[in-house]
């Protein structure tokens, strides 16, 4: 169960434990937390919603892509859903590899891919309203019905 959607707070150490291996000298983690200010606007809390069955499949796909591309890599990802407050952990990505540069690169690849293909949506709640966030670049369309190139922007 290296790829999970969780309704409860994420145990970071438990995600890390899944990628420990005798052949690995490096583990990187990415921990996405809820930030208070985005472009000067104050977030009160977030709601994350998911299409869980598909989200788990897409997380697995990302893991497979990484293991194919970076030799010896092991991956675990847990994404939380439901209501999250400021500083709460939304996602934890752990990647272990024999060499450290790969651990950084593979981890970064994972977060970019999550933002592209994993069916999870966040609704921002502010003092004066709420809104489902698009892909952070609201103008991006996928005319062919699916994403074809990486959106590397935050």
């Amino acid at each position: 169960m290296n790829y999970e959607i969780s309704k409860e707070p994420i145990d970071i150490q438990a995600v890390i434990d899944k990628v420990v291996q005798r052949e690995a000298g490096a583990i990187t983690t990415f921990i996405g937390t809820v930030r208070e200010l985005t472009k000067g606007k104050r977030t009160l809390f977030l709601i994350y919603e998911t299409y869980e069955a598909m989200a788990v499949k897409k997380l697995q796909q990302i893991g497979s892509e990484i293991e194919e591309r970076w030799e010896g890599a092991k991956v675990a990802i847990t994404h939380r859903v439901g209501r999250l407050d400021i500083t709460d952990v939304a996602v934890v990505i752990a990647v272990s590899t024999p060499h450290r540069n790969d651990a950084y690169e593979a981890n970064r690849y994972a977060i970019e891919r999550i933002k592209e293909i994993v069916p999870i949506w966040k609704k921002e709640h502010w003092e004066d309203g709420e809104e489902w966030m698009g892909n952070q670049l609201e103008t991006v369309a996928y005319p062919k019905g699916h994403p074809e190139e990486k959106d590397l922007n935050e």
């Binding site: 998911t50 299409y51 996602v91 991006v140 996928y142 994403p147």
Partner: protein
């Protein structure tokens, strides 16, 4: 029959998490256009479609019992 799933702002607009309807034989694009018209959904060109938990192209033909999901631009992470 086909189950059609909605998420995020589309779910809010449709007012339901899913619908049961007959879509077999239609293309993804046809079903999308029908749903968009019925529920007055905008920006549908940014919405992807999944069939049985895999992304599908607009030209793909929906089969009997397929589960279809409309996937607005994702914002996880």
């Amino acid at each position: 029959m086909n189950k059609v799933l909605f998420f995020a702002h589309i779910r809010d607009a449709v007012g339901q998490e899913s619908l049961q309807l007959e879509a077999a034989g239609k293309t993804v694009a046809q079903l999308k256009a029908e749903i968009a018209e019925k529920y007055k959904l905008e920006k549908m060109e940014t919405v992807m479609t999944a069939i049985n938990e895999e992304f599908a192209m607009n030209e793909e033909i929906i089969q009997k019992d397929d589960v279809v999901a409309f996937i607005p631009p994702v914002s996880g992470g």
